[in-house]
């Protein structure tokens, strides 16, 4: 009797296991529709490049809940530094994101003890910490033990209006030790300091978009007198919201302006010039073809990983738009909502070459996205392609097409590889599928040259025959005409 009962229980247990595994599979699906843009700029369903793995709260790490965390930074040693803004502390988490290594909440400066007040951002380079102590209006530079050796404060300069507050939101430090600070009430770019903490100037301002206001201002200034001009307001560019620096020292900025699209995402060189200005592309969501629905992307954070892949975090939709170094859209990850993988109020993004880490300042969690197999193949192919290894990238691109036949980048990659190999006929086919006119043109030019070279004799004979035929017709006509007259 007992045996029978045992068997029944065992059977039931195995069924429960199987069922839970089934439901487990279902919940592994994303809580949102994964999409990408096709060659017409229309949204189509796509394979996911990242899947939400888990979301980590402060409680799970055993340090009490985070309170509106606003920044995350991954140091060179793999440690994650989270600016836990509301709790006035910096939390250091190990690279697996399951254990707290350190909590930094007090600093020492010339024997005095300093505490933080709503720290907004953190940056680490060469074992030196830079903390944006937002509500204390200062940036601290310290070593890993919390010994502060420099405090950067509001610049005293004619360039910086003295009536403006100085609330550092984000910081970035370049290799020379120059500190760049985003202050959200300044439209002329980030505030730049040298490594001694002296104010140097502004860097990386956006351009002013040519709106109707600019045109009207120009018109009114032609006829307005001094008194009238006093009451005119200038058209100002959108301030930058956040930025990141890549290994080569280029700074990438983003802007959360809903009214100005110009320079919303940009890559700035040393001269302050936007390197993305001449690339024909768009960032974020596309408007529908009939312009009935315009996207309202507002980017709160940007991140560049070691492969040069750019992640743009959109506050409005809770999505991460991932681009390669040439601004080609790779993946769109995330959405707004309450489930795993969706967000209520995103504030920062950080990435490794495999994972994405997204901070939600209302859920008080860090969500970890893991790259899927599809994502890893795309990244591999993109890396090879952008490094110029077109032929080597051919195989991964075909693998990508096997998994998602709508993935436009794959067709571009294959077309480029075939052009490189001199396989022009195939290149033409794939360039057309990729909707890349200039690649098609290059392939066609190659194909035409080859065709003429191979059939030179035949073409020559045909041309000769045509000329003779025309000559015969003309002569016969002339004779006829002559007879008539």
């Amino acid at each position: 009797m007992q045996d029978i009962l045992k068997k029944i229980f065992a059977g039931m247990a195995s069924w429960v296991c199987a069922l839970s595994m089934l439901t487990g599979n279902v919940s592994a699906d994303e809580a949102y529709d994964v999409y990408n843009y096709d060659r017409w700029g229309e949204a189509i369903p796509s394979q996911a490049g990242y899947l939400a793995d888990r979301s980590v709260s402060g409680l799970e790490l055993g340090i009490g809940d985070f309170s509106s965390p606003s920044d995350i930074f991954r140091a060179d040693d793999g440690m994650f530094y989270i600016a836990d803004t509301g709790n006035n502390r910096i939390v250091v988490v190990n690279s697996e994101f399951d254990e707290v290594v350190d909590i930094i909440d007090s600093f020492e400066y010339n024997g005095d003890k300093l505490t933080l007040k709503n720290p907004g951002s953190i940056f680490i380079t060469d074992n030196t910490l830079y903390v944006a102590d937002t509500d204390n209006s200062r940036v601290l530079r310290c070593d890993k033990d919390g010994k502060v050796d420099l405090i950067i404060e509001k610049p005293i300069s004619e360039l910086y209006p003295s009536e403006l507050t100085f609330l550092p939101r984000k910081i970035v430090v370049d290799k020379a030790g120059y500190v760049y600070v985003v202050v959200n009430n300044i439209t002329s770019g980030s505030v730049m300091y040298n490594n001694k903490g002296e104010f140097v100037g502004f860097y990386g301002a956006n351009r002013v978009e040519e709106t109707s206001k600019v045109v009207w201002n120009y018109f009114w200034k032609l006829i307005a007198n001094e008194n009238m001009r006093k009451y005119m307001t200038d058209a100002v560019p959108a301030p930058i919201t956040s930025f990141d620096i890549d290994d080569e020292g280029f700074i990438y900025t983003c802007s959360d302006s809903l009214t100005q699209d110009l320079d919303a995402i940009k890559k700035v060189n040393a001269a302050g010039y936007n390197l993305f200005a001449d690339i024909e592309t768009f960032f974020g969501d596309a408007s529908t073809p009939d312009y009935s629905n315009n996207p309202n992307n507002s980017y709160v954070d940007i991140d560049v990983n070691e492969d040069g892949i750019i992640n743009c975090l959109d506050y409005t939709t809770g999505r991460i738009f991932q681009y390669d170094e040439d601004c080609n859209l790779l993946f769109i990850v995330g959405s707004s909502g309450n489930q795993l993988g969706t967000f209520r109020q995103v504030s920062a993004v950080e990435s490794t070459s495999e994972n994405l880490y997204v901070v939600d300042s209302q859920k008080n969690t860090v969500t970890i996205f893991e790259q899927t197999v599809f994502g890893s193949i795309v990244h591999e192919a993109t890396r090879l392609y952008n490094a110029g290894y077109y032929d080597e990238a051919l195989e991964p691109w075909f693998e990508v097409l096997k998994r998602d036949g709508n993935y436009r980048r794959a067709y571009i990659g294959i077309a480029s590889a075939y052009i490189n190999q001199g396989n022009y006929e195939e290149a033409m086919k794939y360039a057309e599928l990729a909707d890349s006119q200039w690649r098609y043109d290059r392939a066609f030019e190659g194909w035409r040259t080859e065709f003429i070279n191979e059939n030179f004799m035949a073409i020559g004979v045909i041309v000769l025959l045509v000329i003779i035929a025309i000559a015969v017709v003309v002569i016969r006509k002339k004779r006829k005409g002559g007879r008539k007259s």
């Binding site: 017409w40 360039a431 057309e432 909707d435 006119q437 200039w438 098609y440 043109d441 066609f444 030019e445 035409r448």
Partner: protein, 209 residues
């Protein structure tokens, strides 16, 4: 003198832009059949130009194809031009009949229609760097057609140059008005159709009850 067949008249009109139409008018030549054929070829040409142009010059939107815009761009446009010109020029002491305006206008379309087909064929042989040849052919065709059209109107109504210019400008205005009225009429018909259909469905319900 000038005993040409209808086909030879076509050639004569196209290759003698300044006196070709005068000769045609004098001989009362020109056939409506050829004119309609040309307009039909014009319609086919616009479709071909849009759909069969080589990929590296022009990307057509493949997701859906609608023939109506092409009909409007060719056949409707031509008809509105003819009717607009006729209605304006009868008021401006023009001598042209509706038939003659139609024939002359259609004949003067020939270079442009030819350019549509020739450029489409050329696009499959040339690369983007050589597109200047295609532009050249296209603009020669267009300019030639404009010149022919001007002389066609001038001859059909026996106008001076300045009067022709005024007539053409007024014709364009008349075309806009006709188009506007057409849209109004169409929407009115639509409303009437919906009205009749709703009465029909209403009656159907009652009958069933």
């Amino acid at each position: 003198m000038m005993d040409l067949s209808e086909k030879q008249w076509v050639k004569h009109a196209v290759f003698h832009p300044f006196e070709g139409f005068e000769d045609m008018r004098w001989k009362k030549a020109g056939s409506l059949k050829i004119a309609f054929t040309i307009v039909f070829l014009f319609f086919v040409g616009t479709v071909v130009w849009n759909r069969l142009y080589a990929f590296h010059f022009w990307v057509s939107y493949d997701k859906l194809f609608n023939i109506v815009p092409f009909i409007v761009k060719s056949i409707v446009l031509f008809s509105v031009w003819v009717i607009g010109n006729w209605s304006v020029c009868t008021l401006l002491d023009g001598e042209g009949t509706l038939k003659r305006i139609c024939i002359f206008s259609a004949y003067s379309l020939i270079p442009y229609v030819a350019a549509l087909y020739i450029t489409t064929i050329m696009s499959h042989f040339l690369i983007y760097d050589e597109s200047i040849f295609i532009d050249c052919v296209y603009y020669i065709g267009l300019g030639w057609s404009c010149l022919l059209m001007f002389n066609a109107i001038k001859t059909a109504h026996q106008y001076s140059v300045i009067k022709t210019v005024v007539a053409i400008l007024l014709t364009v205005a008349a075309m806009l008005i006709i188009m506007f009225l057409l849209v109004l009429v169409l929407s009115l018909f639509q409303k009437v159709a919906i009205f009749i259909y709703s009465i029909y469905t209403e009656i159907q319900y009652r009958v069933r009850l």
